[in-house]
């Protein structure tokens, strides 16, 4: 069986169906609100300060990116730095690794947190902590950060879901209503799978079939008029609404001109970023793109350089494209991984798991451009400047920028209280 980490970026059919089924159990395959009128105004509590970001694109470097060879270089400590060089960026005094020359041009819109820390050193647990702000427990499934965003920030576009996950097996909405969970997209180029009406069905026949299904359901529905039962018919309604909606075009990146595809790069990740931009234009609040291949226990430097060629092109294209469209002002782009990699280079020229002092890259809406928070010491184990920032605080920082209420309590079925960023406090140093 494939582990979470070694699996390919793209979902296979079985995985897609599993996660889609997870997402729809109870409420909906295609999670969305029922009406065009926003009737949830009373439920939406604004946060402590006005939002400076309305959308988030979260680039998850699954498998743990080597921070020392990407966003967290330390030129003062050559013995841990290895062969990777640092280059100057568009922000004074901020350096990136030579693997990211294009991203360096956008550093004036970006910030780096260099003192990230996590309590977990295994991929699955650490990734869970990054995404939910809570430790993985056997007794409860916590909602992912995207699900919190979807729940707390309200859906503008009522036909398409406000939380989308591109690549990798998504975690769900946890104990929140499953409509807030991520809509999984396996292959960005293929768009939203299984959302088209079959070729051999014309409208009349399709209508006839629906009518027949309703007729057959009628007696059951009248006998068991319950929330869960109604949820199933809502599922059909929502799915059909989306199927007929022109908003499906948001998922179709073939509508983009060829230059755009080239700008982002033809890799899965690049195309995912292009799709993410289309989705944000269509007011999807939270898009996460996962990119694996970072678990570089062997041959770290070559693998990182290869990976960086891909993400550097896609990330810089994304930032440029968003800025030209005036969207960067309200869209926060986050790039991070579940933990970092050892400062010590192992005998196989690789780097191993390292939960101390990895990096998070933030850009765009709400971010104080050109800032670096913290600095690690020469052995890369403790902060030389600044404090350690844990995953909950990173999520709190993003949530704060989005104007979400950090103290809004949601209860699990057993009545335990949970908040969007657990016990995290926003790091104001990197926020505008």
């Amino acid at each position: 069986m494939k582990s979470d980490i070694t699996k390919l970026d793209e979902l296979n059919r079985r995985e897609f169906i599993t996660s889609a089924a997870k997402a729809c159990l109870g409420v909906g395959l295609l999670p969305m609100a029922g009406s065009y009128i926003h009737n949830n105004v009373n439920a939406l509590e604004p946060g402590a300060r006005p939002a400076t970001a309305r959308y988030v694109i979260y680039l998850n470097m699954s498998g743990a990116m080597s921070h020392l060879d990407t966003f967290g270089t330390n030129p003062d400590a050559p013995e841990i730095q290895g062969p990777t060089k640092s280059i100057a960026t568009s922000a004074d005094g901020v350096f990136l690794s030579e693997n990211l020359p294009e991203t360096a041009k956008h550093m004036h819109n970006s910030a780096i947190i260099k003192t990230m820390v996590t309590s977990q050193g295994a991929h699955e647990q650490a990734s869970y902590l990054m995404h939910t702000s809570y430790l993985k427990r056997g007794t409860i499934a916590h909602p992912t950060f995207g699900s919190w965003v979807s729940k707390l920030s309200g859906n503008i576009n009522t036909t398409i879901p406000s939380n989308v996950q591109i690549g990798a097996n998504p975690a769900g909405a946890g104990f929140l209503e499953s409509k807030y969970g991520p809509l999984p997209i396996g292959n960005p180029s293929a768009g939203l799978a299984n959302s088209k009406i079959a070729d051999y069905l014309d409208e009349t026949r399709f209508g006839g079939r629906l009518a027949m299904a309703q007729k057959m359901n009628a007696s059951y529905l009248s006998q068991y008029d319950q929330k869960q039962v109604r949820a199933y018919s809502d599922l059909y309604k929502d799915a059909i609404k989306l199927m007929r909606s022109e908003d499906l075009k948001a998922f179709d990146i073939t509508q983009e001109p060829e230059q755009m595809h080239e700008l982002y790069g033809k890799s899965n990740f690049g195309q995912g970023c292009l799709l993410a931009r289309r989705l944000v234009e269509n007011q999807v609040r939270y898009v996460e793109i996962s990119r694996g291949g970072w678990d570089t226990h062997d041959n770290n430097f070559e693998a990182v350089a290869n990976n960086c060629a891909d993400i550097d092109k896609a990330l810089s294209a994304l930032l440029l494209d968003l800025e030209m469209r005036g969207l960067l002002k309200e869209t926060m782009v986050v790039l991070t991984s579940e933990f970092g990699r050892t400062p010590k280079i192992n005998p196989r020229d690789g780097r191993d798991h390292w939960p101390y002092g990895f990096t998070a890259f933030l850009a765009g809406g709400g971010v104080k451009g050109g800032t670096v928070y913290g600095k690690m010491d020469k052995v890369g184990r403790n902060p030389a400047e600044g404090k350690f920032i844990d995953p909950a605080s990173l999520n709190a920082t993003i949530a704060h920028a989005m104007g979400l209420p950090l103290n809004d309590v949601q209860y699990s079925p057993s009545g335990r209280p949970f908040t969007v960023a657990h016990d995290g406090t926003p790091l104001m140093d990197v926020l505008a």
Binding site: V41, T159, M324
Partner: protein, 572 residues
């Protein structure tokens, strides 16, 4: 069981005329074991009025008393030994058995007197004559006679005296708030900052509030956090001051009156509350009066001692909507016709008429009655159309504010406005937009329209007109709006952020927004804007970001725009 007895007794006692004799003094015990001596005077429903030894009346709920006392009370009530009704009002109508009784001073802040017998406020310890502590400190170089004169002014103001911030409010803050909410100071080499980032040491700081929000809204008690925290339940975490007990009712009253009078820096300045030349404003003129005189009985239902107390006559006057709605008998206000309005009729009855409102205290003064009359005649509107602020005035204020503080433009604009009410927000949602407050306790609103094709047309924005001054962010991107929508958008005076990306807006429509006073962000990506709009855009001097990519503006146009708006970020 006991409750059933009472209903019977209550009916009986209505039918049988009684002569009252004094009940004997006895010791009452509460269920929790507290004992006190007193004399049963009257009862109303399940509440018994017991006159304590200090000859004050204490309303005590039946259920709070011990079983023995309950028995006694049932007996007394059954035999009709005591009158029915609140002794404080009975005292006026019928000769009271104890004529020497004083009325309990009614605390307007909290409608429930509660069962717990409040001890009289302790007098401040008298200092021995000549004691060191008896001397008031006088600053060096200050004339001692002037210093004591200044102290006298700062005494509690008379009931009709306008409140002065320096003389009346500041001494209270100094006494009770400064120890935590003062200017930052150095102590043992460390800088101590004011708690919650809130300074209360000068008028400017009090009005500025902290990073969360302002703490004082002139003329509006409900939105004044300062007033909220000093009047909330003492058990509450946010209760202020946290140490040394609550402010005295007189002190709270001073702060209340100061806020209602417009939270002015000095008494007599032209404040909101006194200025009626622009028409009567519900929030500034009518509501403060209603709050003072009517809400004791006509507020929203509340729970007191485990029972829900409903407003008298089923009439609520605590919001504009409920006032207009009236009660089951009908509306109490006929817009435009004071004589036909029940509300106006009951406040203008003869002072000895049993129906007159308010039933307690003096009738409304002639000025107050005239104010009601004028308000109803003007149409009993919530916001008179001519009270919103003239842009010119605002401009001056924004500039000074920005110079004095790090408040952002939006916060400055928000300070001038009242947050939209829930019905207003709900009405705005009907536009199809997601309408949210910018943040908690903020009065500005963000409206984001769904980008679904063919969903949003020009007329959708009409539903936002009720809160048009509150909208600071408007996102119309990817909707089907046309030039027509901008004729409406230009009325959104306080708009700072406008997104028209991917719409069919043209140069003709853009002309409408040339006079928008606070626009800082304008997104015209993929619109039909051409070089003809450059002059219009250049005239909006507040612009900081303009996005024109994929529009019809040429490089030449951009060059002209950049030279007209040198500090703005212009992308194309």
């Amino acid at each position: 069981m006991a409750a059933r007895w009472f209903s019977i007794v209550a009916v009986l006692s209505l039918l049988v005329p009684q002569t009252w004799a004094l009940e004997p003094l006895r010791t009452f015990k509460t269920a929790s074991g507290q004992a006190f001596q007193g004399r049963l005077v009257s009862y109303e429903g399940q509440t018994f009025y017991i006159q304590g030894k200090d000859s004050k009346f204490y309303p005590v709920p039946f259920k709070q008393l011990s079983a023995e006392d309950q028995k006694y009370l049932i007996q007394v009530a059954q035999l009709g030994k005591v009158p029915k009704g609140d002794p404080r009002s009975i005292a006026k109508e019928t000769p009271s058995p104890t004529p020497s009784v004083e009325e309990t001073p009614k605390d307007s802040g909290s409608p429930n007197e509660g069962v717990v017998l409040r001890p009289a406020p302790k007098p401040k310890p008298k200092l021995r004559p000549g004691s060191f502590f008896a001397y008031k400190p006088i600053n060096l170089g200050q004339d001692p006679s002037l210093a004591s004169a200044a102290k006298e002014v700062s005494a509690i103001p008379g009931p009709d005296e306008p409140i002065d911030f320096t003389n009346h409010v500041l001494p209270i803050l100094e006494d009770r708030c400064f120890s935590c909410h003062n200017a930052p100071y150095e102590k043992n080499g460390r800088t101590t900052h004011p708690k919650a980032g809130l300074r209360l040491d000068t008028y400017e700081w009090v009005m500025k509030g902290n990073l969360d929000n302002t703490v004082v809204e002139a003329g509006n008690l409900e939105d004044s956090y300062l007033y909220e925290v000093i009047t909330m339940d003492e058990e509450d975490d946010m209760f202020m001051p946290p140490k040394g007990g609550a402010l005295s009712p007189e002190q709270i009253d001073v702060i209340k009156r100061w806020i209602l009078e417009g939270a002015k820096p000095s008494a007599g300045g032209a404040g909101i509350a006194s200025d009626m030349s622009n028409g009567i404003s519900f929030h500034d003129h009518i509501f403060p009066l209603i709050e003072e005189r009517c809400l004791d009985c006509h507020s929203e239902p509340y729970v007191k001692n485990g029972r829900t107390i409903h407003p008298k006559a089923g009439l609520r006057l605590d919001t504009y909507e409920s006032i207009i709605k009236g009660n089951l008998d009908g509306t109490i206000i006929e817009k435009g016709n004071a004589e036909e309005s029940t509300l106006f009729a009951v406040i203008t009855l003869d002072s000895d008429d049993p129906e007159i409102m308010p039933p307690k205290g003096a009738p409304l003064t002639e000025d107050e009655i005239n104010m009601f009359k004028q308000w109803i005649t003007e149409g009993a509107k919530e916001n008179p159309s001519d009270t919103f602020v003239q842009p010119k005035e605002v401009e001056a204020e924004v500039v000074t504010d920005a110079a004095n503080s790090n408040l952002s433009l939006i916060d400055t604009l928000a300070k001038r406005l009242k947050a939209p009410s829930r019905p207003q927000m709900e009405a705005a949602q009907k536009s199809g937009a997601l309408v949210t407050l910018l943040s908690a306790r903020h009065s500005m609103v963000r409206a984001e329209f769904s980008s679904g094709p063919n969903l949003i047309k020009d007329d959708a924005i009409g539903a936002l007109s009720g809160i048009k001054n509150n909208v600071s962010h408007l996102d119309l991107s990817r909707t089907s709006v046309t030039d027509g929508v901008l004729g409406e958008v230009k009325k959104f005076n306080n708009l700072t952020w406008l997104n028209l990306k991917d719409t069919s807006v043209t140069d003709r429509g853009i002309q409408n927004i040339s006079k928008m006073p606070y626009l800082t962000y304008l997104n015209l990506v993929s619109s039909k804007i051409s070089d003809k709009s450059v002059e219009t855009l250049a005239s909006i001097k507040t612009l900081q970001e303009v996005y024109l990519w994929n529009s019809d503006v040429t490089e030449n146009g951009i060059k002209r725009l950049r030279s007209a708006l040198p500090d703005a970020k212009i992308l194309f």
